[in-house]
């Protein structure tokens, strides 16, 4: 079943998953996963409920596999606190310590990692995610996007060798998304291993050259993103944009080469495109040029459900 571009064993393996399964009673969450990951950015793709979070939790030692073996940097990950000095995790859950400021939260991580200069390290990590202005505010007052960024800062503060990110761009606005994607790309280019789980295809389109596709708890596809992407290019996707000037926005969108159709409904514009990435890159520029305020961008076909139906039959 499914598409695979062939098991791409990286030259240097940092994450090894061998025959891993996880079940809860009769319910199988992940079934017989085997793959390896090396330095660079790798995307773990799959629709909601596919088993991505369970996989990430087993990779970071939060869950014990029911069967199989997980090794990170050549060592077992379960109950191995020393290894955690080289691992960073951005968890899926939003819960933080509401009574701490952003700075105190990241400093706490730095202190627990026994960094020699925790304040300076926290400041650098907060600067990376553009949160210095809000660093002294309590976390209870942070927006969803800010929470996401402070979670990324605590995962970066000790400059980990391997970084796991579970849906890291949730809640971030388009500008922040681009900035964070650049951060992940740089880390990957610098030889770190960055494994990003996402159910939004366009989110990882730019970052992930290697992808692992999980569907129904199984590895459905593995390999180079562009090969998978090529299979999908014939299938136009729809994106809904809520703005304060839909007509000006539509005029800007019609100039894009990938645009195949446009619908305006009140303040909403639904664009059909064969080049979603181009669209997402062009939107902030168009908004700035034509002074359009963007309220919300929703990829109507980006949840991967349709992609998976296509990929795995």
């Amino acid at each position: 079943m499914g598409y695979a571009s062939g098991p791409a064993t990286p030259a240097k393996v940092t994450i090894e998953v061998e025959g891993v399964s996880k079940w809860y009673g009769d319910k199988v969450a992940v079934s017989d996963l085997s793959f390896t990951v090396g330095p660079g950015v790798t995307a773990l793709l799959g629709p909601n409920g596919a088993g991505k979070s369970t996989t990430l939790k087993m990779l970071t030692g939060q869950l014990r596999p029911s069967q199989g073996r997980v090794r990170v940097l050549g060592r077992p990950v379960i109950d191995n606190p020393r290894l955690y000095r080289q691992i960073g995790l951005v968890p899926e859950q939003e819960e933080l310590y509401p009574f701490l400021s952003g700075r105190a939260f990241v400093e706490l991580a730095a202190r627990l990692h026994k960094l020699p200069h925790p304040r300076e390290a926290a400041r650098a990590a907060l600067a990376t995610v553009d949160l210095l202005d809000a660093q002294d505010r309590k976390l209870r007052g942070y927006s969803k996007g800010m929470r996401q960024r402070v979670k990324i800062a605590q995962a970066l503060v000790h400059e980990p060798e391997v970084l796991f990110l579970d849906e890291p761009l949730t809640g971030a606005d388009p500008r922040q998304r681009l900035a964070l994607m650049e951060v992940f790309e740089k880390l990957g280019a610098a030889g770190r291993t960055v494994l990003i789980s996402s159910h939004i295809l366009t989110e990882v389109e730019r970052m992930g050259t290697t992808v692992l596709v999980i569907a129904q708890g199984k590895l459905a596809a593995e390999g180079d993103f562009h090969q998978i992407r090529a299979l999908m290019d014939d299938h136009p996707r729809r994106v809904r944009i809520h703005s304060d000037n839909p007509r000006a926005l539509a005029a800007a969108l019609i100039r894009l080469s990938g645009t195949r159709g446009l619908e305006i409904d009140g303040e909403l514009v639904v664009v059909e495109t064969t080049a979603a990435l181009e669209l997402y890159h062009a939107l902030p520029r168009a908004a700035q040029q034509d002074r359009i305020r963007l309220h919300e961008i929703t990829g109507l076909d980006d949840d991967l459900e349709s992609v998976f139906r296509y990929l795995v039959g």
Binding site: K57, T60, G61, Q62, L63, R64, D79, P81, R82, L83, Y84, R85, I87, L89, P91, Q93, E95, L96, Y97, F99, L100, L108, A109, R111, L112, H113, K114, Q154
Partner: protein
């Protein structure tokens, strides 16, 4: 470990939790004040020991420790923030110890504060008394501040560790289970017989108090058959054992 301890203090020592404990622990000083205002034959030290044995030890001390102890790890599990401690290069023992210390420091500080006020009011309402010691000498019946503080300290540590474990295994229902245990077992059953007292923390705290009171006639009020040394060892054992169990269980914990 210090960072986790300070985090624990900040998490536990705020808001409604602290207010609830404060309201509970103001009760003994208020009763001592009432006693001072109404008694015609002041015997403040005796009243302090009675108050400790009948109110602070069976109810308030375990309730205070329960409120802080069950939340120390329980809230981290329930709020899903434990990952920010366990996915660090920190031993599980350090996490458990730091959390237990945070709960115990708050419990002991507040209990001792309440006991100090009660002792102060008791001392102000006491007339000097003497008693005949077993060796035939005459002794003054002195303050009971030190014995009650020692008993409060060891009891606070043991209860905090026990409730830390409860919070680890029952993060959602820890408070409810703890409440039933405190009122049913420590408050009621352990006071019914010596045999039952040996299976309660309360019995051993009474043993420590008894020993700390020495040959004062006031130790007849505690009437604990458990020796002071054994009681002290058991309480320290419960504390260390609780921390060890919590640490071991953190090694096995899964965070779905």
């Amino acid at each position: 470990m210090i960072a986790i301890f300070l985090l624990g203090l900040r998490a536990l020592g705020r808001g409604r939790r602290l207010l609830a404990v404060g309201v509970l622990l103001i009760i003994p000083p208020l009763l001592a004040l009432l006693y001072a205002l109404t008694t015609t034959q002041p015997d403040g030290h005796r009243f302090v020991v009675q108050l400790f044995n009948q109110v602070t030890l069976p109810i308030l001390l375990p309730l205070t420790a329960m409120i802080f102890g069950t939340s120390a790890l329980g809230s981290e599990i329930e709020d899903r923030t434990l990952i920010y401690l366990t996915l660090r290069p920190v031993s599980r023992l350090s996490i458990a110890l730091a959390k237990c210390l945070a709960a115990a420091v708050l419990t002991v500080a507040l209990i001792e504060g309440s006991l100090f006020l009660v002792n102060l009011l008791g001392a102000l309402n006491d007339v000097s008394r003497t008693y005949l010691a077993p060796n035939g000498s005459t002794k003054a019946q002195g303050s009971v501040l030190a014995p009650t503080l020692i008993a409060g300290l060891l009891g606070g540590l043991a209860y905090s560790a026990a409730f830390l474990v409860l919070g680890r295994f029952a993060p959602k229902r820890g408070l409810l289970i703890g409440f039933v245990y405190v009122l049913g077992w420590e408050g009621l059953a352990a006071g019914l017989s010596t045999a039952l007292a040996t299976f309660s923390v309360r019995g051993y705290v009474q043993g420590v108090l008894d020993a700390a009171l020495g040959d004062s006639p006031l130790n007849a009020l505690t009437a604990s058959p458990l020796g002071g040394s054994v009681s002290g060892i058991v309480l320290v054992g419960i504390t260390l054992g609780g921390v060890a169990v919590a640490a071991l269980s953190l090694r096995r914990i899964e965070l779905p």
